[in-house]
Symmetry: C2
Subunit: 353 residues, 2 copies
């Protein structure tokens, strides 16, 4: 699989990834190497990762608890303290071995420790391979508000080792797959058609590569999310609010990120049908595909009200208005669309049908 060159680093795949890291570590003089894991990646990924490398190096393992509920500044303080107590200095390297939560938090911890040390991301979930691997977003949640605190900062490299997907449950894979479906919806109708017919996750390498290429092309055009990069937020404006709400709500099971944005994409496809001319048959196609793969929770009116309240706290809502990415057609997005408030309720009604 060809390596993908981003603005400042490369995304390497499988054996090439191990080779690239071997070359890199023998060229760079780091004073200390830290590997950040959670209880899952310590168990399933740390040994194979270490065994995949030929370079001799010593490292310290830092462990945090997995889960979005731990993606906060308190966990970050623990990482900073551990780095400090283990004599981490400005010439230290942090390797983030884990999913999106771990890579986002580890990237933020590294970017702010002693005003910034180098880090490398080794995403271990499908979601983080196709999403967090490119773009340089790092950060943590603030209370129930997702990714409120963070910086844009690039890793030295990203390694995608698709063998790690074998350690994941089906539900986790399906969650990551939602971001790939999004890549089709916002950039490539034929990729959307290909993905629709994927029925198992055994041979994903080419598809992961395509998704990273799509995301990278978007980010390269607009690193600071002034314009075109906003299209990556399709499904996320409502999806984030739904994810945040379900995380706090006692009446609902927590939804995974991909499950939340799958709902967000159905709702925002409905808004697209109403406001930007998405054809009815494409709207139906989108709804059918997502409902065939993802859970359909019951939304009460009180749930919907709370979700709409959270919407206005989304960090992307500049000037207090809520701007959405919608679709004209599958593969053709429009940014900065303002939504009349009553349409949100119709969108949820359509979802419930």
């Amino acid at each position: 699989m060809e390596s993908i060159i981003t603005s400042s680093y490369s995304v390497h795949f499988n054996q090439k990834a191990y080779d690239a890291l071997d070359r890199y570590l023998s060229g760079e003089k780091y004073s200390k190497i830290f590997i950040l894991v959670d209880e899952n990646t310590r168990k399933h990924c740390l040994t194979p990762f270490r065994n995949g490398l030929r370079t001799e190096f010593t490292f310290e393992v830092l462990e945090i608890e997995s889960g979005e509920e731990n993606k906060n500044i308190h966990t970050c303080v623990k990482v900073w303290n551990a780095l400090s107590e283990l004599d981490g200095d400005r010439k230290s390297l942090l390797i983030n071995l884990g999913g999106g939560v771990l890579c986002d938090l580890g990237g933020f911890a590294a970017s702010t420790f002693k005003r910034g040390i180098d880090f490398i991301n080794v995403p271990t979930t499908l979601l983080s391979m196709v999403d967090a691997s490119v773009g340089g977003k790092t950060g943590v949640d603030l209370g129930s508000l997702k990714n409120q605190i963070g910086v844009i900062n690039q890793p030295r490299m990203v390694l995608i080792l698709s063998d790690f997907l074998k350690t994941l449950e089906e539900r986790q894979l399906q969650s990551g797959f939602a971001e790939m479906l999004k890549h089709g919806l916002i950039q490539d109708a034929s990729y959307w058609d290909t993905l629709k017919s994927v029925s198992d996750f055994k041979a994903m390498d080419t598809l992961i590569h395509t998704s990273v290429v799509i995301k990278n092309n978007v980010v390269l055009q607009d690193p600071r999310e002034q314009n075109v990069r906003k299209i990556l937020n399709f499904g996320h404006t409502l999806g984030h609010a739904i994810e945040s709400y379900f995380l706090e709500s006692e009446a609902h099971e927590t939804l995974l990120h991909g499950e939340s944005i799958a709902i967000g994409m159905i709702l925002e496809a409905y808004l697209s049908f109403k406001l930007t001319g998405l054809p009815k048959n494409q709207l139906e196609d989108i709804k059918t595909v997502f409902l065939s793969k993802y859970p359909k929770p019951e939304f009460q009116n009180t749930d919907i009200e709370s979700i709409l309240t959270l919407l206005k706290f989304d960090k992307k809502n500049a000037y207090g208005t809520i701007n959405f990415v919608l679709l004209k057609h599958i593969g053709e997005p429009v940014v900065d669309v303002r939504i009349p408030e009553d349409l949100f309720h119709s969108a949820f009604s359509y979802f419930k049908e």
Copy 2:
């Protein structure tokens, strides 16, 4: 006073500062403007600052407690929460109206809120005018370790309003003056001679301007502190350790930053005499000047041991070794000098003489 142009923004003085901010605010479309103050700058600086501006704008005031002991992530969380609760978004502006602690913390809070909002620094102490005004260092302390957490990020502009110096006590002014003396020591022997003879702080504008020019010239050559910028750390390697130690120690009065680095500069001048050829008469001159202006605390052996332990945690000590900036002559620094451990004890003995 001429404005000083840094890598990406300008430092404006007095009436020109108000004019520049007026022009800026009428040109930029911010959704919300926040002014961060502490109890002192709320009382003494907020109203004159607001009255100095002709532009009409509404703003929210955020208040934190003054003092190095509040320069931590908990205070930062309060600022983030306040920004979030008051509907701060990506198009918000934070104006930091305060001393070094407030500007450092406010700059970090702004740089990390929603992955970065704009901020402007209005330093209100002599120390922050001549030091924090240029260089883009932002951050907070981690436990007793100073500035362990932070990022390098530039404000949109810096405004130096020297009228605010009238609100400061003599001891605060003297503390800031230590950084100016440092500028002489590391860059300009004649500036050092000028400063030695300053006996009151009434007409400081030209001297402040000179200090900002010196610091800016150094930072422009090396923004990421790879090389020449390290010279700004003269007196700070030991000075920081002393400041941290006195902050935590129950047996000692807390030292201000300038008071700590004044001691650090005497100690490091002694190391310069021993290792890099600083002439004896210049060492004596440095000691005499600093002891005539700053307190001379009693150091017990246990104090010295604790201070040396803290040294190794200083964030600048890459690879676990302690690298110092020393002087060949006044005005002529050398970077990356390693110090034999026993010399530290002789340096403290010399200080006590």
